[in-house]
């Protein structure tokens, strides 16, 4: 079993054991979010803090964005760019942050 150790953009460690089959890489996917949502999703100005976001709520809200069922300026367009597996990985990641 291969242990992948990739530090997120804070001092907090997110360790995961990955099987040989490719799975979306939550921390790496989340790197792109930092450009707006700040380091480790801590938020910035008007853009929300994602740390410790309830996992189920994350999935629900993301799905609403993707379906244009939730008011959004940009997250609806962004949400549609990711697969379900990607979103699960992101939900795992952000829900694990403090």
């Amino acid at each position: 079993m291969r242990t992948r150790l990739l530090l997120p953009t804070t001092l907090a460690l997110a360790m995961a054991a990955w099987p040989a089959v490719a799975q979306p890489d939550g921390p790496m996917l989340a790197e792109a979010c930092a450009g707006c949502h700040g380091q480790a999703g801590a938020g910035q100005g008007a853009i929300s803090d994602l740390r410790g976001y309830d996992r189920d709520a994350f999935l629900l809200v993301w799905a609403e964005f993707a379906a244009d069922e939730r008011p959004a300026t940009i997250m609806n367009r962004i949400a549609r760019g990711y697969t379900e597996a990607d979103v699960e990985a992101l939900a795992d990641f952000f829900s694990s942050l403090e």
């Binding site: 291969r2 992948r4 150790l5 990739l6 530090l7 953009t9 490719a22 979306p24 890489d25 790496m28 996917l29 790197e31 792109a32 930092a34 450009g35 707006c36 949502h37 700040g38 380091q39 910035q44 100005g45 008007a46 853009i47 300026t73 940009i74 367009r77 962004i78 949400a79 549609r80 760019g81 990711y82 990607d86």
Partner: protein
């Protein structure tokens, strides 16, 4: 990083490596002199700074050296807000101290020559740096004389302000704008694709108009374009009509908008078909290509840009050199800061896979959001998610896109929020580069 220094008399041509001790190499935060692998990053902008920082955080055993001529970094993004009178140069200038504190060895010099075979880079000051892996993020060069009469000397009269540099281009342009005679004409020459920052010229038009509306309301902006369409065009043109009346005239190529010659002495823009336009202020954004260091190393193709592997960003023309940011052939990904920042991380995982034993990100996703300020409290955006294909990049279908259109009476909340989000983007992304 083993380094030949000036004081030890090694220069290009001598070729002798001298391993420096930890004492002579001591820079604040450098953890160890001889570490597990040497990553060299050339270019300290959106791509390079992001790459260096990500590498130090995630691969602490790899030594990272960053070479950047500027001692602090002036972003091109948000430079337009200086024109609009909403920001100062200090607001868009960033220190490299944060990267130093993370253990990046920052060298302020210009990389002059790459020896891809020998895995070394020579700096203008004479030093030679050896690397195991090179992340090359050198940005663009301007094609001087592609527009007849527009050379480096001309850019002091007609600024381009299409790189941050030392901040002088954007501050000169701002000064010229403030000194524009009453009712004067601002001329802008906009290039054909591909060029750095597709919405940039149009945000610039907006911010100039925003300034003029208050300071010089009878002035005019003539935007001469070598294209017949542009990024977020519908949104920009709606905003111009709503906010600036008839101050802005956009002339597309099909209406003789391509500027092919400029005369800085007589202050003229001359079009493809010979129309002469007098301007009081001339902003010329010339055609571009990859920075000279990439082309001189033989990394670019006939287009002047560097083709790369879509998964690793390794240059097709050389092993162990990963080219990120504006210099590469990334279409349809735009040449944007966010793309440089996003792709930098994938490139680092690929570059350091061998050294670290950790696999590269084998299913990468690349991300872009470009915010533009069309006016005060009037932000618009375009977002896109890309994935590599076997021979290039593709936008993920049925996703991304531009802000919804509509009159201010319906969209004012959306526009105000996007303007705030744009400010937050700027703070977040520069944190991701320099903090």
């Amino acid at each position: 990083m083993t380094r030949q220094t000036r004081t030890t008399l090694t220069r290009r041509g001598f070729g002798t490596l001298i391993a420096a001790s930890a004492a002579t190499l001591a820079t604040p935060g450098l953890l160890r002199a001889n570490t597990n692998g040497r990553l060299l990053v050339v270019g300290g902008g959106f791509g390079g700074a992001s790459a260096a920082r990500f590498a130090r955080i995630n691969y602490p055993d790899v030594s990272v050296t960053l070479v950047e001529p500027q001692t602090s970094f002036v972003t091109c993004p948000y430079g337009n807000l200086i024109l609009g009178g909403r920001k100062q140069l200090s607001d868009i200038t960033h220190s490299y101290d944060g990267l130093r504190a993370r253990g990046v060895q920052v060298i302020h010099d210009r990389a002059q020559e790459i020896d891809a075979e020998g895995h070394r880079v020579t700096l203008a000051g004479g030093d030679v740096l050896d690397y195991d892996k090179l992340i090359l993020s050198p940005g663009i060069a301007l094609r001087w004389n592609a527009i007849e009469g527009y050379d480096e000397a001309a850019s002091e009269v007609f600024p381009h302000a299409w790189w941050g540099g030392d901040g002088s281009q954007i501050t000169t342009l701002r000064a010229q704008l403030e000194a524009l005679p009453e009712g004067g004409v601002v001329g802008m020459a906009i290039p054909d694709n591909p060029f750095r920052c597709p919405p940039g010229p149009y945000e610039r038009i907006s911010m100039i108009a925003h300034h003029l509306k208050q300071a010089n309301p009878t002035a005019k902006i003539l935007a001469f374009d070598s294209k017949d369409g542009f990024a977020k065009q519908g949104l920009f043109q709606d905003a111009w009509e709503e906010l600036y009346g008839d101050m802005i005239e956009w002339i597309p190529a099909s209406q003789d908008g391509r500027i092919m010659r400029v005369d800085t002495e007589n202050k003229l823009f001359v079009s493809e078909f010979g129309e002469e336009h007098h301007v009081d202020l001339g902003n010329v954004i010339p055609p571009q290509y990859a920075a000279g260091i990439a082309r001189d190393a033989g990394l670019a193709n006939d287009s002047g840009w560097v083709p790369v592997n879509p998964r690793s960003f390794e240059a097709e023309a050389a092993r162990d050199i990963h080219v990120i940011g504006d210099a590469n052939v990334g279409a349809p990904m735009p040449k944007s800061g966010y793309i440089a920042n996003s792709t930098a991380k994938t490139a680092v995982t690929a570059a350091l896979a061998e050294i670290s034993g950790r696999p590269a990100w084998d299913d990468p996703v690349y991300f872009n959001t470009c915010y533009s300020h069309a006016g005060e409290d009037y932000g618009i955006s375009v977002a896109a998610i890309f994935r590599p294909t076997d021979d290039g990049f593709e936008a993920t279908p049925d996703s991304g896109g531009v802000s919804p259109s509509g009159p201010l009476s319906e969209m004012s909340r959306n526009r105000r929020l996007e303007a705030r989000y744009a400010d937050a983007w700027y703070a977040s992304i520069t944190d991701d580069m320099f903090s």
